[in-house]
C-alpha cells in the first residue's frame, strides 16, 4: 500500500509541477532523475509482490513514464541522463569482473569453461541463424545486403546469449541453496559474463569492419586489436591502482567506487579502448589483488550503484517503443524459444563433455534464462555505435529480455526446488536445505 501511495504522490507531483515550471533543463533533468529513483524503485518492489523480478518493475516504470506513455521523462531529458547510463554500465562491468574469484576459477575452471562454451556456442548459433532467417521481420534489415544482415545478426546474438549474475545471486541468496546446481549455475553465469563481453567486443569490432558506422568510419585491424588488448591493459592498470588503494587506504569506499567507475569510463573513451572490458578487467584485478578489500569495494559499489541501476533500467524501459515491440513479435517469440532450446541443448552437451554431476546436467539450463545487467549495457553500446539500426536491435533485445527476465527467476526457482537444493519454505525465509545433493 505504501508503494502505491508513493506512486500516487509522485504522479500528482509531476502533474502539478510540469505545467507550472519553466526552469532550466538542468533542473528538469534532476527532477526526472529523482522521480525515476523513487518511482521505478517503488514499481520494482510492487513487482516482487506478484513474484516478478524487480528489474521487470523498473523497466515497466520506465515504459510508463517514458515518451511512449505519460511523457514525464521526455526524449531530451533521457539524452541528458545519458551519463547516468554510462556510469551504470561501468559499475555493472566492474562488479561483474569483481565477482570472479581467482580461486573458484582455478578449482572448477575447466568444468565451468566446458559447460559455458557449449551453451554459449549453441545459443549463439541458434540466435544468429534465427535472426538471419527471419530478418525480413526487422524493418532495418529489410532489403539490406547480406553482409549487413550477417553482421548485425552476429552482433545481436553476441548480446542475446548473456545471463544475469544479479538475478542468479539474488535467488541463491534468497533460498540459501548451495548445492551442485546452485554452484555450477553461478559459476557458469559469472564466467559467461566475461566471455560475453569478450565475444561482444570481438563481434563489435568485426561488424565495424563489415559495416562501418555512419560518421566515424570503420576500424582497422590494429585499431581492433588495440580496442580489445588495450582494454585489458588499461583495465589491469586501473585495477592495480584500485588494489593499491584498497590495500593501503581503504577509506570512503562509497565515493571512491563512483569515482573509479566514472574515471574508468572516461579514460576508456579517451584511449579508445572497450569500456566494458576495461572495467571488467579492473574489477577482476582489484578483487583478486586488493588484499581482501575487494569485497568491501564491491559492496560499496553495489550500494552506490543501487539508485543508478534503478534509473538505468528505467531509462532502458523508457526507450522501449511498445509499437515497435508489437511489430516485432514474430521475431521475439522465436528468438526466446530458440535461446531457451539452445540453453537446454548446450548445457546437456557441455555437462556430458565436462562429466558434470547429473543433477547439474538436468536442471542447470533453467538457471541461465534470466538476462539483465551487462546485457542492457551491451545493447546500449550497440545502439550508440549504430544509432538507427542498433536502436532497433536494442528494442528487439529489450523485448526478448522482458520475457526472459520474467520467466528466468521462475524457472530457476523451479530448478532449485526440483533438485532438492531449496524448499518452498526456504524461499519464504524458513529453514534452508543447504546440503549439496
Amino acid at each position: 500500500m505504501r508503494r502505491v501511495i508513493v506512486l500516487v504522490l509522485l504522479y500528482l507531483l509531476m502533474q502539478a509541477v510540469l505545467p507550472l515550471g519553466e526552469g532550466t533543463p538542468a533542473a528538469l533533468v534532476l527532477m526526472a532523475f529523482g522521480f525515476l529513483i523513487l518511482g521505478a524503485y517503488s514499481v520494482g518492489e510492487l513487482a516482487t509482490t506478484i513474484r516478478l523480478p524487480k528489474i521487470v518493475g523498473y523497466l515497466a516504470a520506465g515504459l510508463a513514464v517514458g515518451p511512449s506513455a505519460l511523457d514525464f521523462v521526455s526524449q531530451p531529458v533521457m539524452e541528458q541522463l545519458a551519463p547516468v547510463s554510462q556510469l551504470a554500465i561501468a559499475l555493472i562491468a566492474f562488479l561483474a569482473g569483481a565477482e570472479l574469484q581467482l580461486k573458484e576459477v582455478l578449482e572448477r575452471g575447466t568444468l565451468l569453461l566446458k559447460i559455458m562454451t557449449a551453451e554459449l556456442v549453441v545459443s549463439f548459433i541458434g540466435i544468429a541463424v534465427t535472426l538471419i532467417a527471419l530478418h525480413e521481420f526487422l524493418p532495418v534489415l529489410q532489403g539490406a545486403p547480406m553482409t549487413e544482415i550477417v553482421g548485425f545478426s552476429i552482433l545481436f546474438a553476441s548480446v542475446a546469449i548473456i545471463h544475469s549474475p544479479a538475478v542468479t545471486m539474488a535467488l541463491l541468496s534468497e533460498s540459501g541453496a548451495k548445492g551442485v546446481v546452485a554452484r555450477t549455475t553461478l559459476g557458469v553465469v559469472l564466467v559467461a559474463d566475461v566471455a560475453v563481453v569478450l565475444t561482444f567486443s570481438g563481434a563489435l569490432a568485426l561488424v565495424r569492419v563489415m559495416v562501418p558506422p555512419s560518421g566515424s568510419g570503420g576500424l582497422g585491424v590494429l585499431a581492433v586489436l588495440w580496442e580489445i588488448g588495450g582494454a585489458v591493459l588499461v583495465g589491469a592498470v586501473l585495477g592495480a591502482v584500485v588494489a593499491l588503494y584498497l590495500r593501503f587506504i581503504r577509506r570512503e569506499l562509497f565515493i571512491f567506487a563512483i569515482l573509479v567507475a566514472f574515471f574508468g569510463s572516461e579514460i576508456a573513451g579517451l584511449l579508445h579502448v572497450e569500456t566494458l572490458l576495461t572495467l571488467l578487467m579492473a574489477g577482476f584485478v582489484a578483487e583478486n589483488a586488493g588484499g581482501g578489500g575487494g569485497e568491501q569495494l564491491r559492496h560499496a559499489m553495489e550500494r552506490a550503484g543501487d539508485p543508478i541501476f534503478v534509473v538505468f533500467f528505467a531509462l532502458a524501459g523508457a526507450q522501449i517503443n511498445p509499437q515497435a515491440v508489437l511489430k516485432l513479435w514474430p521475431l521475439v517469440i522465436p528468438l526466446v524459444l530458440v535461446r531457451t532450446a539452445g540453453l537446454w541443448a548446450g548445457t546437456k552437451l557441455g555437462a556430458r563433455w565436462a562429466n558434470a554431476e547429473p543433477e547439474a546436467a538436468k536442471y542447470m539450463w533453467m538457471g541461465l534464462i534470466s538476462q539483465a545487467g551487462v546485457a542492457i549495457g551491451l545493447a546500449s553500446v550497440m545502439a550508440n555505435v549504430y544509432p538507427e539500426r542498433g536502436e532497433e536491435l536494442r528494442t528487439l533485445f529489450l523485448a526478448t529480455l522482458t520475457i526472459n527476465q520474467t520467466l528466468g527467476p521462475i524457472m530457476f526457482r523451479i530448478a532449485l526446488l526440483r533438485s532438492g537444493e531449496a524448499t518452498p519454505e526456504s524461499f519464504r525465509g524458513g529453514p534452508r536445505q543447504t546440503e549439496p545433493h
Partner: protein
C-alpha cells in the same frame, strides 16, 4: 582531455585532500581548507584557462542544483526539536538579534549603494541588496569545528556560537527563499500565476512532500543501502522540483532536513550518510562555483565587495557585542563572540550560486562575486577567528580552575553563578545563560563532595582546555575523560 575527465581528476584530488591535506592543515595551522578549490575552479574555467569550456561548465548544472540542495539538507538536520528546547531564551535572543541586525545593515547599505554606483535602478536595487543581506547572515561552522574539533563541551559561548550558526543559516535560507518567491517570474503556461505567498508555500510544500516521500519509501527499514536510495531520491526530487519551479532548492531541502531529523528513527544513520558526502560535495560545489564565475564588467564591483565585507564584519562584531552587553551576558560570553561568525563558507556559496543561476534577477554576477570574495577572504581564517573570539572568555576560567583545590586540573569547571533564574524550566532546560549549572554527569568530579546538584538545572558545563592551540595535538586521555554529553546521540 575531456572536461568530464578533468572534473573527475579534480574531484578525486579533492577527495584525497579531504583526508590528507584538510586534516593536516586543520590540526597544524588551524586553517580551513576549501577556498583553494574555488580558485582552482576559476583557473580551470572559461574565464581564465578555458580547460573546461562554457558548454561543459553549463552541463554540470544538475550537480550544482543538487549540491545546493544537499547543503540545505545538512543545515536542516541541525534543527532537532528536543535539543532546541533545551537552549535558553537568551541564547536564541542574542542569535536572532545578531542575524537580523546583519541582514538589515547589509541590505540597507547596499540598497543605497547599488543605485548610487550605477549598477542597478533604485526600484530593483532591493532585490540584490536583500540577497546580499541574506548571504551576509550566513557563517561557516567549519571554524568552530576545527578550533574545538571533537572536544566541544557545553561552554555558554560555544553553545551561543552553535545556536547563532544555526539561526544565521535559517535566517539566510528563509530570506532568500522568500525573496525568490517574491520576485518569481510568472509562468506563461499557468492559467493563473501563483502569488508570491503561494510560491513560498509551494517551496515549503516541496520540502514536506520530500520528507513524506522519504518516510513512505523507507517504511520500517533501516538498512543503509535503503536509506541512501530514499534520501538520495527525496533530495534529488525536491531540489530538482524546486529548481524547475524557480523557487529556492535550499529552502525546500532545509524543510526536508527538519522533517527528517525530527521524525526519522534513523537520524543517526542519516547523519552518517550525510557526513560521508558533506566535504567532498562541498569541494565539488566550490569547484563548480569557480567554473561558473563571470567577472563583472564594471569596476564598481570592488566598491560593492568592500562595502559588503565592511558592513558585514562590523554588523557581526558590533551587533553581537551590543546585544551581549544589553542583556548582561558579557561574563559568560565575552564581548567578541561575533568575531567567530565572520567566516563564510558552504552556505554562502550555495545561496550565491542559487541567485546567480537566475537570469531574471539583477546583477547576479556582482552578487556572486561579492559572496565568493567573502568566502575567499574569510573561510581559511575562520578557525583562527573562533579561537580569537573564545580565548578571552575561556582563559580566565582556566586560571580559576587552577585556584580551586577540589578541581581536577584535567576536568571541567563550573562557572560562577550569578543568581539569574533559568529562562526555561523542566528536565534538560538550560539556564538563561547567566546562571551556569554543571553538566550532571561531570558534576561529581567538578564540585566539592558535599555540593548539591540539581538535575533539573543541568545545562551548560564550562570546559577548560577545550580550545585547541596552534600546533597542539588532541590528548586522547583528555578526550576519553570528557563527560558524555546528554545530546551526544543527537545531530549538532
Amino acid at each position: 582531455m575531456s572536461a568530464s575527465l578533468v572534473l573527475i581528476i579534480v574531484v578525486a584530488t579533492a577527495y584525497l585532500a579531504t583526508h590528507l591535506l584538510y586534516e593536516w592543515l586543520a590540526k597544524r595551522l588551524l586553517i580551513v581548507s576549501g577556498a583553494e578549490y574555488l580558485v582552482l575552479g576559476i583557473l580551470l574555467g572559461p574565464q581564465v584557462s578555458g580547460v573546461i569550456p562554457v558548454t561543459a561548465a553549463e552541463s554540470f548544472g544538475p550537480i550544482i542544483v543538487l549540491g545546493t540542495g544537499w547543503i540545505g539538507l545538512t543545515v536542516g538536520m541541525q534543527f532537532y526539536l528536543p535539543r532546541l528546547v533545551r537552549i535558553t531564551g537568551l541564547t536564541f535572543r542574542l542569535a536572532v538579534i545578531e542575524s537580523l541586525v546583519t541582514l538589515g545593515a547589509v541590505t540597507l547599505v547596499l540598497w543605497w549603494a547599488l543605485p548610487a554606483l550605477g549598477l542597478t535602478s533604485q526600484f530593483w536595487a532591493i532585490v540584490p541588496a536583500l540577497a546580499l543581506g541574506a548571504i551576509a547572515v550566513a557563517s561557516t561552522p567549519a571554524g568552530l569545528d576545527i578550533a574545538l574539533r571533537d572536544r566541544k563541551k557545553r561552554e555558554p559561548v560555544v553553545n551561543q556560537l552553535e545556536t547563532s550558526l544555526g539561526v544565521n543559516a535559517l535566517v539566510a535560507i528563509v530570506t532568500t527563499g522568500i525573496l525568490f518567491a517574491w520576485v518569481h517570474r510568472a509562468p506563461t503556461s499557468a492559467l493563473r500565476p501563483p502569488t508570491p505567498t503561494e510560491w513560498a508555500v509551494i517551496t515549503v510544500g516541496i520540502g514536506f512532500l520530500g520528507g513524506s516521500l522519504f518516510h513512505l519509501f523507507l517504511g520500517e527499514e533501516r538498512q543503509v543501502d535503503r536509506l541512501v536510495v530514499s534520501l538520495g531520491g527525496a533530495v534529488i526530487l525536491a531540489s530538482g522540483t524546486a529548481a524547475y519551479l524557480n523557487v529556492s532548492p535550499v529552502l525546500a531541502t532545509l524543510v526536508i532536513g527538519i522533517v527528517l531529523v525530527n521524525t526519522s528513527r534513523a537520524r543517526n544513520e542519516l547523519r552518517t550518510v550525510l557526513a560521508a558526502a558533506e566535504r567532498p560535495f562541498y569541494y565539488v560545489l566550490l569547484l563548480l562555483a569557480g567554473l561558473s564565475w563571470k567577472p563583472s564588467t564594471s569596476a564598481t564591483v570592488f566598491a560593492v565587495i568592500l562595502l559588503y565585507l565592511v558592513t558585514r564584519t562590523a554588523s557581526k562584531v558590533y551587533a553581537a557585542r551590543a546585544t551581549t552587553v544589553w542583556n548582561n551576558a558579557t561574563p559568560q560570553l565575552g564581548r567578541d563572540w561575533g568575531k567567530a561568525l565572520i567566516g563564510q563558507g558552504r552556505l554562502t556559496v550555495a545561496l550565491a550560486l542559487d541567485y546567480a543561476r537566475r537570469p531574471e534577477l539583477p546583477i547576479g554576477d556582482v552578487v556572486f562575486t561579492a559572496a565568493l570574495a567573502s568566502v575567499l577572504l574569510t573561510e581559511f581564517a575562520a578557525a583562527r577567528l573562533v579561537r580569537a573570539a573564545l580565548l578571552p572568555i575561556v582563559e580566565p576560567l582556566r586560571d580559576l580552575a587552577q585556584r580551586l583545590p577540589w578541581v581536577d586540573a584535567d576536568e571541567d569547571v563550573p562557572a560562577q553563578a550569578t543568581g539569574e533564574q533559568p529562562a526555561m524550566s523542566g528536565a534538560g532546560a538550560a539556564s538563561s545563560g547567566a546562571f551556569i549549572a554543571p553538566d550532571v554527569e561531570g558534576a561529581s568530579t567538578l564540585l566539592p563532595p558535599d555540593a548539591e546538584v540539581t538535575p533539573s538545572l543541568g545545562g551548560y558545563a564550562l570546559g577548560r582546555r577545550n580550545l585547541v592551540r596552534e600546533g597542539e595535538q588532541p590528548d586522547a586521555a583528555d578526550v576519553n575523560k570528557a563527560p558524555p554529553s546528554d545530546s551526544s546521540n543527537e545531530p549538532r
